[in-house]
Structure formats: C-alpha cells, structure tokens
Amino acid sequence: MPKDARFGWQSKFVLPAATVVASMAIAPFALLCWQAFHNFNPLEGRNTFAGFDNFLALVHDATFFESLKVTVAYATAAGLISVVAGVVLAVALSQITWRRRAIPFLLAPFFTAPVVAALIFMLAVDADLGFVHYFAEWLRMSDPRAMLSRPGRALAVAVALDVWQWSGVVGLFVLARIETVSRPLLELVVTSGGGWKARLVSVWAPSLRTPVAGILAFRFLWCLGDGEKIDALTAGGAPYGAMQVLPIWLSHQYFRNGEYGYGSAASLLLYLVALIGAALVVRTLVLRDKFV
C-alpha cells in the first residue's frame, strides 16, 4: 500500500463514519457554540446575539460557583474513595482462591440502575423508615435522623452511594491487572523471603500505578457528570440546593428556565475544562506509553 493511501480514493470509505461523526458530534457541538453566544430562550421567544454576555453572567452567578464547588468535591471524594476501595478489594481478593465466585457480587451494585440505587440509599437514610440513624445514634452523632438535611452529610451519603456502586467494578479491573502480573517475578519475591508487604511494594504497586491513575482520571470525569442519582437521592439537590451538582444546575437552566443560551455557555466552559483535563490524562498516560 502506498504510504499516502489514506489521502487517495480509499478515503471515501471513511465517508459514512465521517457523516455519522459530523451529525452526532460536530453538529450538536456547533449548535452548543451558537447558543452560547446568544440570548436564546425558546420558551419565552427570546433569541438575540449576546456576545460574551452569557459567560460574563456566569462569572457573577453565585449559584453556578456553589454548584461547581459541590461537583468538584463530590467527584474528587467519590472518585478517590471508590478507587482506593476497589484496589483494597482487589488486593484482598487476589489472596483468595475462590475469588472468581465473588465477581457477580462485585458487579451487582454496578448493574443496579443509578436511580434505583439512589432510592435504596434514600430509604436507608430516611429519618423514619431508614436504619442508618440507629448507627448514627450509636455513634452519638448530633441530630442522627438528619442525614440528608445537612450539606456535609448529604455529600457523604452521595459519595457512599457512588463508592457502593463503583468500588466493585474498579476492584475487578484492578484484579484483572493483578492477575496478569508476571508470575516469575512474584515467585522471585516469594522465594527471596518477601512477604505480603514486599509483594505489594515491589510487584503490585509498580504494575498498578499507571492503570489505577487512569481509572482515577476516568472516575473523576465520570463523577462530574453524575446528575440523575444525586437528583433522585436528594430530591433535586437538597438540602436547600447544597447538593445541586452541575448536571442538576444545568438541567434547571435548560428545562426549567428555558435559558438555552446561558446553559450552553456553562456547558461550553465545562466542556473546555473537561477537554483540557482529558488531554492532560492522554498526554501523561497514553503518549508516554504508560497506559497499557
């Protein structure tokens, strides 16, 4: 095949895929950009060019920054804890001979629909019907029945929900990596008298570092978009909007206020931030051939 074949007639085979990409990704993105620079509210019949007004309004919007703050806090905590829990789970399972039988149990929470999982947790922490307040009373927490009515506790419940759903599947990925660690290397450590700690430090940690970093980055980006289960868990961002993460905030801008221009400006800004984040991950992990 000539070296520049990709620019020849063969490139026509790419046209169907290119058409799909253009209609499914580029066109909506172009629409998003157009809306971001317009004062566009179809429900109120407004549509005028706004320049950077929507972006400037965002800078002065306290609700946006509150929402951004809680989103980042949630994504960081949920991402980090679910990965740490997953790694601990995987390392523990790797020591057990019947680990394969545990796999369905690891995956069950993940395959529970997010909204259903949220409702299960909502009932668990309910002031009257739930059981969590019994533990809270035992721990002598103040106001033990108020699990979702304090911002910090509501955040903790949301994080616990995400960790419950995701740590198993993260553990499975990590376990798969552990299983592929070179047997001779492991045996070398064992025969040279290295115990569990030596295996962790000399074999597993170096092998797991890069994939775990990748999973962590993926989990963080995933959690940024978690809206439906937090919406179901906190009835739209309770207490008093403190758990109104960005997807909920955006859905209010679009569907409740009809502020498509304003919502699109925020979406575009967040898209650019996510793009930079993703580029950093790719640059750090993939381009350096570390992500294997």
Binding site: D128, A235, G236, P239, R256
Partner: protein
C-alpha cells in the same frame, strides 16, 4: 429488461406500502348539530387519545372512569402518569419541538404563558364554536368556579384549557390529637391559652406546630411537614406569602405583568414566619415533595402538613391510611382574620400536533359533565364545577366545607412565559433564607432584583433593594 421491470415494480410497491402505512385517514367531519357524545365521537371511533399528566389522585380518578368514556365513544384512552417534574419536562420539551407524542396534556396552569408563547397548544374556543362538537348544556364560564376558571383556563382573554381539578392551599392535621383533652390541657399549660383549631392567627398556627413537635418521642412526632424540596418549596411558601397579603408581582391576573413586590414588608414577614414554621418540621423535610409529604402524614409522622387540596382524598381513604377519619382540614389564616389560599390547577391542553384534537376536546368536555364530575370527585378528584358540591354525598365529606370556604380567598399566580424562571429564582433565594445563609430581607431583595432583571422593561421594582 425483465429484471429492470421487476425492480421497478418492487420500488413502486415499496413506495406504495410506505405511503399507505404513513397515510392517516382523515376522519369524517363531525355532525352539524350536537346529537350526543356517541354521535359526535363516531368519526374518531377506534382512535386512541394519548394523555400525559401527574400521578396524583385527579388523574388517577380519570384512569378509574375511563371505561365509561371508551364505551360511549369507541375512543381508547392511553393515560400516562408521571411524577411532577418528569411530566412538566416532557410537556415543555414537546412545546419546543412542536411534536408532542400526546393528544392531551395536563400541566400546571402556570405553564400556560409558555405554551401560548411557543404557539404549541390549540385555543379551545375553536371547538366550542362547532355546534356538532359542543354539548349545548356546557358553559365553562358559568358552570366552573370563578374567577378560578378564568385564571387557569384562559390567557389574555383567550380560552386554552380546562382544569382537571380545583386546587388551593389546605392544612391537613391530626384531628384526633387536636381534640384530645390531654393535649389541650398540655397546650393550655404551655401557652396559657386554649388550643384553637383551626388557628385564627399566625401565632396560633405556629404554637400548634411548636406544641406537637416531639423529635425525641418514640416514634418521633413533628409539628408540621413543610415540603422543602426544590420542586415543592415555591408552591408551599406562597401559601404563607398570600396569608400575609404578600405577592410576587402586583398584577390582577396571572397573565399580566405588574410591579415586582416580592420584597415587600409583608413578603419578608411571611418568609420569616415560614422559616419559623420550618423549625418544627421533620429533619428530612428538605427532601419532601408531595408524594413523600403525603406518605409521611398518612403514616402519622407529623401533626400537620401544608398541601393543596387535590390530595385530600389520600387522607380520607382507609385503603391509603390507617388514620383515615382522624384527619381534619383548615385554611391558612390571613393577617386580617380571614383565610388565604393560592389558586392552582393542572389544566388539560390540546397540543397543536395532536392526532385527533376533536377527540381530545370531546374527552375534556365529557370530563366536565355534572355526573362525571361527581364521579371523579368521589373517586378522589376535587371538582372545579360548582354544581358538584350540591351532591349530598360530596357535601357531607369532611374537606368540602373547607374547600368551599376557600373560594373567596384564592390568590392567582403568574402564568406569564417567565413564570418558571421566577419560580427558579425564588426557589434559589428562599433556599438561602431557609438555610440561614441570608436574612429573609436580603434573600427577597436579591430575588426582586433578579426577577426585575429577568422581566426587563415589562416591570419595575416597587420596593428599594439593598
């Protein structure tokens, strides 16, 4: 040649098949004169009316009576019941695309301005004028509660919808506890006065919440279940707002723009009062919306709750609660010793893209018939038709007297296209006031400024903001 002919015939065949499949047979015109529902519906027999609305007693009662309509007309009903927010989102999304998948939608009347502004619903007077489709005994302006009907069914003088139910503020309370001699004595000892139920003043109302607030009891009892979740807060707070003679816009009708008065001294007092009440609410009231608030009240967790009376049947039906028969009802007191109530309804609108708008109209008109209204009311709805309350079975129901009492103290809410935006602004600002991040005055000043900015030159601030 032969192959080409076969291919040609195949292409024509496929095209004809697709055309036949897509073709919707135009119904025969309705009769020129009203000859009864069955005759009027004959051209639409065999069709299905797809309906969307909220999963609460009013539409559930229609679900139970659907058989009567289907037998009379041959028209099938496909009733889709969704939760509050999902129903509204689906309907508003349809108003953008003008492609509803529904032939009849029930949505809060405050959304009417949006639906009209986006030209997505049909005015109903066009059906009312057709003699073959109009039951001559039906006259909504005279038969439905007024000015309720004008506010929820018409917009700037044009008729767009028919109310599913009559809605207004109501307080549901545990009558058995309020009538207990032991409780009355304890109340007297604590406040130095007799327990007054229904309360005549805000102070008496607050005392009731305070008296029955027992978070450490086993099981706990809470003074008042306020629905403090994001979707319900604005509705609930308005009951307090109107009871202090406050308002959001100073406008006579929902479709009018008036001065922004949401930061008036009355509104600030109302918000302070609402915040005081919230101190006696259950610890997880911040996630209470209607279904949860009703369920907790049915379970006896709270002494009272502030609701709207489309759900009163939930407390009278022994199949729904073991406490049926032990509840009582009162209207929020107003500052002048009278009553206060907000005017509210989910209203049936016919989308422009409805497949059989005439059939949808016939259903709406059938629902308004006096006999059907009585049946719907007995099934759990709250009838918007005045004659319904003459029925002795309905007159003897416990909530009826309170509902009728409220008719003269209902305050309309904005139905302008920006109504949802106003709701969102107020929800956000009220959340800052209730969470203690801002004083009531600061929160309402901020709300007033944001609402004025939102409405632009259509309005102005009446009270200065700090």
């Amino acid at each position: 040649m032969k192959f080409t002919s076969i291919r040609f015939v195949a292409v024509i065949g496929v095209a004809l098949g697709i055309a036949t499949a897509c073709h919707r047979e135009a119904p025969a015109p309705p009769p020129s004169e009203w000859k009864g529902l069955s005759e009027a519906a004959r051209p639409y027999s065999g069709r299905t009316i797809k309906i969307l609305g909220e999963n609460l007693p009013p539409l559930q009662s229609l679900e139970r009576l659907r058989g009567d309509f289907e037998r009379s007309t041959g028209i099938k009903l496909d009733i889709n019941l969704k939760d509050h927010s999902t129903a509204i989102r689906s309907i508003l999304a349809g108003s953008l695309s003008h492609e509803y998948d529904y032939d009849l939608v029930f949505i809060p009347h405050k959304e009417m301005g949006r639906l009209v502004a986006t030209d997505s619903v049909l005015p109903l007077d066009q059906f009312f004028r057709q003699r073959g489709l109009r039951d001559p005994t039906f006259d909504p302006k005279k038969q439905l509660v007024q000015p309720f009907f004008d506010e929820v069914g018409t917009y700037q003088g044009r008729w767009y919808g028919l109310p599913l139910y009559l809605g207004g503020s109501i307080v549901v309370y545990r009558r058995d506890l309020a009538e207990s001699e032991q409780e009355r004595a304890a109340y007297r000892a604590r406040f130095g006065e007799e327990m007054v139920v229904p309360p005549k003043t805000h102070e008496q109302w607050l005392h009731l919440a305070q008296h029955f607030y027992r978070p450490d009891a086993q099981p706990p009892l809470y003074g008042i279940a306020l629905l403090l979740s994001d979707e319900a807060l604005w509705y609930e707070w308005q009951s307090a707002l109107f009871s202090f003679n406050g308002n959001v816009l100073d406008a006579k009708h929902g479709w009018e723009y008036g001065d922004v008065v949401v930061n008036s001294p009355e509104a600030i007092k109302a918000t302070d009062f609402y915040r005081d009440l919230s101190h006696y609410a259950p610890p997880d009231a911040v996630k209470y919306s209607w279904p949860l608030g009703i369920a907790k009240m049915q379970a006896g967790v709270n002494f009272m709750t502030l609701l709207q009376y489309d759900v009163v049947n939930e407390f009278e039906n022994p199949e729904r609660t073991k406490l049926a028969g032990k509840f009582g009802y009162f209207l929020p007191p107003d500052v002048n010793g009278g009553c206060a109530s907000q005017l509210e309804s989910w209203v049936g609108f016919i989308p422009k893209s409805a497949r059989s708008p005439e059939a949808s109209w016939l259903l709406l008109q059938w629902m308004m018939r006096p006999d059907i209204q009585i049946q719907l009311h007995l099934e759990g709805n709250v009838s918007p038709r005045l004659s319904t309350y003459d029925d002795p079975r309905i007159r003897s129901q416990r909530p009826t007297a309170v509902i009728l009492e409220s008719l003269h103290c209902m305050t309309p809410k904005p139905t302008i296209p920006e109504a949802d935006g106003i709701q969102q602004i107020l929800t956000e600002e009220l959340q800052t006031a209730l969470s203690g991040k801002a004083s009531s005055k600061a929160a309402l000043d901020n709300a007033a400024k944001r609402i004025a900015d939102r409405l632009g030159n259509k309005t102005k601030l009446r009270y200065p903001v700090q």
